[in-house]
Symmetry: C3
Subunit: 274 residues, 3 copies
């Protein structure tokens, strides 16, 4: 059942427009190529609409944001909305500055997102900024645990109802949900938090999975999250030399994405549907 | 005969000014260091002339272009022209937007390029934008094959005559030509298209080879293309672990450039001169 | 004695705000994560004060500088000064253009730096630009040798007295000094000069070490320099395959930083105090 989501990415080779930060841009481009997609990274507002117009998905990542990039994001997002193509938001570090909070609010007002991916703090801040019915449940603490899981899911479902987007909360336990249905995913490895770009790469991967599986946005998003988690596990398992560290892990992670197939995904996926 | 082109790069250590995209900037700087050159990456128009003035070659790469970068490119290119130093153009994704097409046309009008490197689609778009006698041969399809090779070479030679630049068309079969003479090169490996930056790295490498061999622009360009292709082959051959993937390939590719010498180049080069 | 400096970084996990170039931004973020710190890379002036305000150290790196980044640096630096938190300057390529020289002078006028790290040419240029009593000793040549070491130390001590910053001169022999006391460090490996980012990574590492050891700025800076040098040695020693080159070295260098502990640091440090 999960098989087809990655198979479709490799078969279709969706072209993804990323307006993203320069810290992890190389990793983002390489993870898209690794999964079979085709990246175009371009952040000038002068060409945002043209580029979005020739892509089958758009990924907007708020790292190293500036006002020009924000304008480009709005133009690219609106163009994709017009064309009925998926737009993913990664609100990197949204709680770190008033500028990012305001920018996130503007993006949520101007663009209709297909999916939003962040860690629990980022998603909480985003929900607060977007105001309205979503709110932030007091129990949605800064770390998702077995104990607060039900209340975090309830919060994510409300935020999905408010925005219309699939909500993806990444962490030790991942949550991927619409207003009605949630995947709880337990793949991944702690090493992923010791390199930069794990989140950015996952957001781009999610854009590719959705673009190649537009009729199944929720399941495709969940499959992207599982794929990244499984590749993180495989990368860690492959570290054999005691001198191996975080940089080798990063290499093995991208290697794993370039090699994973539907069978691996099917066999190693750890998830429940609530 | 090819021997000297890489030997000269290692002996001279040419300083190369790159105005380039942020996606592959790290790879570009590392490939220049790997071949023995010395990179300066700087894209502010405030310093473009100063930096170009202390370098022995300039490489202008249109990825993640914006109006400020374009102004810097024009200034750096003009300064290098004044000083009689080589300027290389990499028209990344030029067909993707009106902004890039217009920018490419402006660059071709304002700067005299020593060499232009792109894939067949990029070079075709560039030739169209530059108008005039170059035109685009109907037979210059979007993939160079044994069958359409003669007509693609004829097209590239006309574009070289029109611009005065060595034209480098990268792909499964590479073409490097002036108006009178063409190298057809068959080094390289398909894996190079599965990582970002292969093209950007080759353009920077070409700038280094030309800067260190200014009296032999065509042959030095061809030697750069062969060097990159041979290193791609060597990187692929080195992949022994079944878990090796695209990221390991990228590491091995840069490793290979840092280790290649004139003997390797001479022995493994696969080319014909037409 | 050195033990505690790295232990504190891993225990405290200082958050470091980097306004840095896009060439080595990924390496800088990864080296900070590898040593146990937490990077925030953000260069928009709209958020510079907010970001600096939530960080325990700021690292300002002049690579790929532009006027907007310079304004962000001044704001972030001033905010950190107000809060009494360390600010590190890396004057990348400061001698390459009038724009960088002027920018460096502005930064030295507007911001009080805790430490300044560069190679001998960069630090000499900086001292010249900052005028005043520091001057540049004629004997402070462009390479630090056993022979000119005393005069280079004297120059660095005067520049420290002039700026109030710990001065770090990186090279085959490293000097880390205040006006009264100098560490002469002989760790490191020549391979570090064959990859881009060794200097940028060291500056970021220094920011993390100072932020986690604010009561011992000089010794913490020296420990950061030794850590980087030791990791460079370890990375080189690990290169076993004849095909290993500069890219593998970079991977091993970051790996080494992610694995180094106080015992390694203590055991392998090579330094004298003058």
């Amino acid at each position: 059942m999960l098989h087809k989501y990655i198979d479709n990415v490799r078969a279709v080779g969706p072209r993804i427009h990323c307006i993203t930060n320069y810290v992890t841009a190389n990793d983002v481009a390489n993870i898209l190529l690794a999964c079979g997609a085709s990246p175009i990274l371009a952040d000038a507002e002068e060409e945002a609409e043209d580029i979005a117009g020739i892509c089958s998905g758009v990924c907007l990542n708020m790292g190293t944001l500036n006002p020009g990039k924000l304008r480009a994001m709005i133009k690219a997002g609106k163009r994709a909305n017009e064309l009925g193509r998926p737009v993913i938001l990664d609100p990197v570090g949204v709680s770190s500055s008033a500028f990012r909070k305001n920018s996130a609010r503007t993006l949520l007002e101007e663009v209709r997102f297909t999916a939003v991916r962040g860690n629990i703090s980022e998603i909480k801040t985003l929900a607060l900024e977007s105001g309205g019915a979503a709110g932030v449940d007091a129990a949605a603490a800064d770390r998702v645990t077995e104990k607060n899981l039900p209340s975090v899911i309830a919060f994510a479902e409300r935020f999905s109802a408010h925005t219309g987007a699939v909500i993806i909360i990444s962490g030790e336990i991942d949550i991927v949900c619409t207003a009605e249905k949630a995947y709880v995913i337990k793949n991944g490895h702690l090493m992923m938090s010791r390199i930069t770009g794990s989140g950015c790469m996952l957001s781009a991967l999610t854009a590719a999975f959705i673009a190649a599986n537009p009729e199944n946005v929720l399941s495709a998003s969940a499959a992207a999250v599982m794929t990244m988690g499984i590749c993180g596990e495989a990368a860690y398992e492959r570290m054999a030399d005691t001198a191996d560290g975080t940089s080798t892990f990063r290499t093995y992670l991208i290697d794993a994405v370039s090699n994973i197939d539907g069978d691996n995904l099917e066999r190693r996926a750890k998830y429940e549907i609530c």
